[in-house]
């Protein structure tokens, strides 16, 4: 059995250990950072199909702090630690040329990973807030890591929006604590069932969900994302788009709605409509972009729309589709950002107009870009197709063909914008294509290639292995969400 606090001890311990030991020797932060994320990946794979509650300090549930491991936490733990291992592997060479101060980078990176691990494991509202803040503050600093004016501006915007979200959450937690006298999520849910529903609870609900929706960048709250995600170093963009908006945003929204406040038809409609609006709005803005990473960032908004639509349907099939898309999105979006990183590493620009004919010079990166573009657009053999297909199928089965129609339209627009990426960067030429520069381009180094290959393989096979994965990973998650509030209370408080 895996000791749950290890997911918090290891990254935080290493985050403070690395700057102490590695001021003099250059290779230490790389080695320690990669070993740490690798160990975390192994540990997270060991939590598969486990379910238990850890009482910190030995204090029992309503009084002490608990860490809760169930299917949903397990899925998120695997996503977080898989993508963070890929990102650290990619960082080794990437940071060498473009950035300085690796020890600060790895220190902040591990703080972010530890914060996210804590967020998905916490069974206590205030601890969840604290871990969320640790991860957010580390990510604000990482977005500004290059210290250019544009990066600082993006980071400041992200900081302001993120802090507005955090304040809303803190206010809502204070209101809930005043109403129920407890901070344990299961205990709060138990008390909320037994007291009459009033406006204060509704107000707290709206505040806390808005706060976390700012973190997950659904459409009315999305303004920070297209600036913040492209400005960061590419491995961090991969983490932000692939993991952070899910662990801090989507996961907490799902957990609170299904296991604390209870899922109602009204909430279902709100989630679906916000999801559909983000889906279409994000992709429409993405088609217009000429900055590669900015285009990818807008697609994150759009794909989060799919996740929320699937989960908002509330049927087991819809939830399966939403969560499967969450998993797939973390794979192909981090792959896309890492590809964009290696292209930027070689060419020195993110402008699609200045690229061209990369398939001759960077074959592996180009092929990985092709695979991930096809995945995100939902072309059949790849994983994105299966999850989008399940969402569309679930929408039709739930008697909402219009939602299915918009999901198909969104998918077609996604394909069109990625055809643009492939045409201008990989297989065709941009308008300002520079022949002399192009001659000097070569494929990136081995350590940057490895994560691209691993993620590409996962992109292909996670789609083909849908059946096996459904049994292993997704059925416990669907049970967690379908069980609703009562089962969560029974599991955590153990009655």
């Amino acid at each position: 059995m895996v000791n749950l606090p290890l997911f918090i001890i290891i990254p935080f311990g290493m985050a403070f250990f690395i700057p102490m030991v590695s001021r003099k020797i250059k290779w230490v932060p790389d080695v320690l950072g990669n070993i740490t994320t690798f160990i975390l990946l192994i540990l997270s794979l060991m939590t598969l199909n486990l379910e238990y509650v850890y009482h910190i300090g030995g204090w029992k549930a309503p009084f002490g702090i608990v860490l809760v491991l169930d299917g949903l936490s397990c899925l998120l733990l695997i996503i977080i630690n898989l993508i963070s291992f890929m990102a650290t592997l990619f960082s080794v060479e990437y940071l060498e040329k473009l950035y300085t101060s690796k020890l600060r980078y790895y220190s902040l990176f591990l703080l972010m990973v530890g914060g996210m691990n804590g967020t998905v494991l916490s069974g206590d509202l205030f601890n969840l807030f604290v871990f969320m803040e640790i991860a957010s503050i580390a990510s604000y600093a990482l977005v500004a890591f290059g210290c250019q004016a544009s990066e600082l501006e993006a980071s400041f915007k992200y900081l302001v929006m993120g802090n507005v979200g955090s304040l809303l959450v803190l206010y809502a937690i204070a209101l809930l604590y005043g109403k129920t006298g407890s901070l344990n999520m299961a205990d709060v849910a138990k008390i909320l069932i037994n007291i009459p529903y009033d406006n204060l609870i509704a107000f707290a609900f709206v505040l806390i969900i808005s706060g976390f929706m700012i973190k997950s960048a659904l459409v009315p709250f999305h303004a920070w994302l297209p600036d913040a995600h492209p400005s960061a170093p590419s491995p961090i963009s991969a983490m932000l788009s692939g993991v952070v908006i899910k662990a801090l945003g989507v996961y907490v929204v799902i957990r609170l709605i299904f296991n604390l406040f209870g899922f109602t038809p009204l909430i279902s409609n709100v989630l679906i409509y916000m999801g559909v609006i983000s889906m279409i709005f994000g992709v429409c803005l993405a088609v217009l972009q000429w900055d590669l990473k900015r285009l990818l960032a807008y697609h994150s908004i759009s794909q989060m729309g799919y996740v929320f639509t699937g989960i908002g349907l509330g049927t087991p099939l819809g939830i399966l589709g939403g969560l499967f898309h969450l998993f797939n999105h973390s794979l192909f979006k981090s792959l896309l950002f890492l590809n964009a990183g290696s292209i930027e590493y070689e060419i020195g620009t993110r402008d699609l107009n200045k690229m061209g004919l990369l398939y001759k010079k960077m074959p592996i990166t180009s092929f990985a870009t092709f695979i991930s573009s096809m995945s995100i657009s939902g072309i059949p053999p790849f994983n994105g197709f299966w999850s989008k297909f399940i969402i569309i199928l679930a929408a039709i089965k739930a008697g909402r063909p219009i939602i299915a129609f918009w999901a198909v339209i969104g998918s077609i627009l996604t394909l069109s914008s990625f055809s643009k990426v492939l045409k201008y960067s990989i297989y065709g030429k941009g308008e300002k294509f520079n022949e002399e520069k192009w001659e000097k381009i070569k494929e990136v180094g081995d350590l940057m290639i490895v994560p691209l290959i691993i993620l590409s393989v996962l992109c292909i096979f996670s789609g083909l292995l849908l059946y096996g994965m459904t049994e292993g990973i997704f059925s416990p998650v669907i049970n967690v969400l379908n069980g609703g509030v009562v089962e969560y209370i029974n599991k955590v408080l153990g009655s």
């Binding site: 935080f12 311990g13 403070f16 102490m20 001021r23 910190i56 300090g57 030995g58 004016a149 600082l152």
Partner: protein, 164 residues
């Protein structure tokens, strides 16, 4: 000490007398955190306030020469690691993360200070961490500037220029 930097002679003299007392008060707040109002965080803030006072009175070069950013950063990391180590030792001694594994007793006897198990030790590590990080924040804010070159802003540190 560079006499030209910093504030007037009066401020410098008063600071020289007061800094020890302020630091001592910070230590008191940290060590008695489990018995009286206070604890690691407020005590750490008082520690940091001592150094901020010295910085204001004598100028940042004096403090940077005495303490240095690297030492402050190491203290910061050391505080965090000590706190985590105390929490993790719980797993070693009792099998539970963050369990209070040192013997506790009712705070009426002669040794009031040692009545709360690991809590004073936690307070000391938090005090170290908070003091060092707040001091670092202040130093970084006073050292780093944004300069504009060709319409593009960039963060630079003014520390090296001052040393010349």
């Amino acid at each position: 000490m560079n006499e030209e930097k910093g504030m007037s002679l009066i401020v410098k003299t008063v600071t020289r007398w007061l800094k020890g007392f302020i630091f001592l008060f910070g230590a008191y707040v940290v060590i008695f955190g489990h018995l009286s109002p206070g604890g690691g965080f407020p005590g750490g803030v008082v520690f940091a306030a001592t150094f901020i006072l010295i910085t204001l009175a004598f100028g940042k070069e004096y403090v940077l020469r005495k303490i240095g950013k690297i030492l402050a950063s190491e203290l910061d990391s050391l505080g965090a690691i000590l706190f985590l180590l105390l929490a993790t030792l719980g797993i070693y001694f009792t099998g539970i993360f963050f369990s209070n594994f040192i013997e506790k007793f009712h705070p009426t006897g002669n040794f009031k200070l040692f009545s709360a198990g690991i809590i004073p030790l936690c307070n000391i590590s938090i005090g170290m961490k908070v003091g060092a990080s707040l001091f670092m924040v202040f130093i970084i804010l006073s050292v780093v500037r944004v300069v504009f070159e060709d319409g593009k802003g960039k963060l630079i540190t003014t520390e090296k220029k001052d040393k010349k």
